[in-house]
């Protein structure tokens, strides 16, 4: 099964996208598989509402593990299963907490095994460099690294917020040469394009 990984800095909306995109692809009950950096695995079954409430948070580094769910996408006349993976947020600098550092290294290892990479940037935070979700060095490096792969796309998130149009322009400038899709993970805008991208790169 092909892996589709969602990455980005903390608080850019990875988990929100993960849940809402899975729901958009037809998932009603979430059968989550959680993998912690120390190797422990956990399974959970919950509704999308419950999942959203439990997992999406404005707190930084809420997600400290990899959580994945199997979704199906239509391919030609048939269907194909892929593993959608939500990850812990990346940082530019060395994080003081070992748990966060472990989570980040888990994310980086998984990037290398994934066929599809959805890289989320927070378009509304472009001007607020002090916010951890503002894009930075790690995003530029990820983009350079992921360019070596075929299935790489940047999702410019939170375009429902007023500050995002400037951020979107900035992203297009600084990450030019990459495919960039504006989305709102909350309102599910741009999801059709993301789905098309996923299908085309399977």
């Amino acid at each position: 099964m092909k892996k589709c990984i969602i990455i980005g800095k903390t608080n850019v909306g990875k988990t929100a996208f993960f849940i809402n995109f899975a729901e958009y692809l037809g998932i009603k009950t979430f059968e989550l598989e959680k993998k912690f950096p120390d190797g422990i695995e956990e399974y959970a079954k919950l509704s999308s509402r419950a999942a959203f409430a439990a997992l999406v948070d404005e707190k930084y580094h809420k997600t400290k593990n990899i959580q994945s769910i199997v979704v199906t996408v239509p391919i030609g006349k048939g269907k194909k299963k892929i593993q959608l993976i939500d990850t812990a947020g990346l940082t530019d600098d060395i994080h003081p907490e070992i748990d966060v550092r472990k989570a980040i290294s888990q994310t980086l290892s998984i990037i290398r095994e994934s066929e599809l990479i959805l890289h989320i940037l927070d378009a509304s935070a472009a001007e607020k460099k002090e916010l951890p979700s503002a894009f930075g060095m790690v995003d530029y490096q990820v983009a350079q690294f992921a360019q070596l792969k075929r299935g790489y796309v940047i999702l410019a998130n939170k375009i429902d917020l007023p500050d995002s149009s400037y951020g979107l322009k900035k992203i297009k400038q600084e990450f030019s040469g990459n495919l960039i899709i504006p989305i709102s993970a909350l309102n599910k805008t741009g999801f059709k394009e993301v789905k098309t991208f996923v299908i085309h790169n399977l």
């Binding site: 600098d93 290892s109 290398r112």
Partner: protein, 323 residues
Amino acid sequence: MNENSNNYVNNDDNVIELLINGKITPVEAIIFFREIERHKNSVVKKANDEEQLEDIMMELDELIGLDKVKQLVKELQAFVSIQKKRQEENLLTEPQVLHMIFKGNPGTGKTTVARILGKMFKAMKILQKGHTVEVERADLVGEYIGHTAQKTREQIKRAIGGILFIDEAYSLARGGEKDFGKEAIDTLVKAMEDYKENLVVILAGYKDEMEWFLQANPGLRSRFPIRMEFNDYTIEELMQIAKKMVEKRQYQFSLDAILKFEKLLINNKNGPHYDKMGNARMVRNMIEKAIRRQAVRLVNQKKITRDDLLYIKSEDIAEVDEI
């Protein structure tokens, strides 16, 4: 980059460990990952090039005869590759001028060897494309002033990244001072300067004529330092070539066909025009003619067996008069 820093990043687990222990930032980790990936790719690519070079040298070895030429090509290959290695280590290198003079009669393998050299230089990263552009006087020399330079430059442009092979090059000096051939030579010499890094020029032609040509143009001597002499094939070699050509076309000689073929070759060798229409070119023409004659012989036959189609008989073999 020194050994240590290479070891430091040469494995993913190392990077992960450094990252977890807070020794490097995620940004640095990704840079290391990229380095590792790039290194892996370049190792694979290098192996490919080496394999290719091996194949090309094998292709050379499989050519019949040409012992002296093969030896020279191998020396050249060794020389160039060592100069390259020395350059990588910042050691002094000999200037590498790879333009050549090929001396020999038509049909002695000059073009074939030129093509192999092109591929070889490509595999060695001396030339970007490694293709061979074959031209002769008529492709280079024009009809009015300025026309020649333009035509010559056009051919050179086609050859950039590969080999420009000028057959019967001596004919460029044929008409003396006023001839446009001289303009072609001047344009060529200039282009060889301009595209020093990415063009190899080979001047080919009869031995005597090429020697005369070099005497008439002493300035060219140092610009074409590599000389290869292509001797006429022996009858034995020609028969081997014939056999190879026939088999490549999925035919077979019958025993008496072999004898007749050989007899005709010997006659031809002693004939007056051997230098112009002898050697492998003669062999090819004879085989092509034999194939046509076999077809004519079979076409009205009522029952044609597989063996009939396969075998060339002695009656199919005949002299060729024109080339």
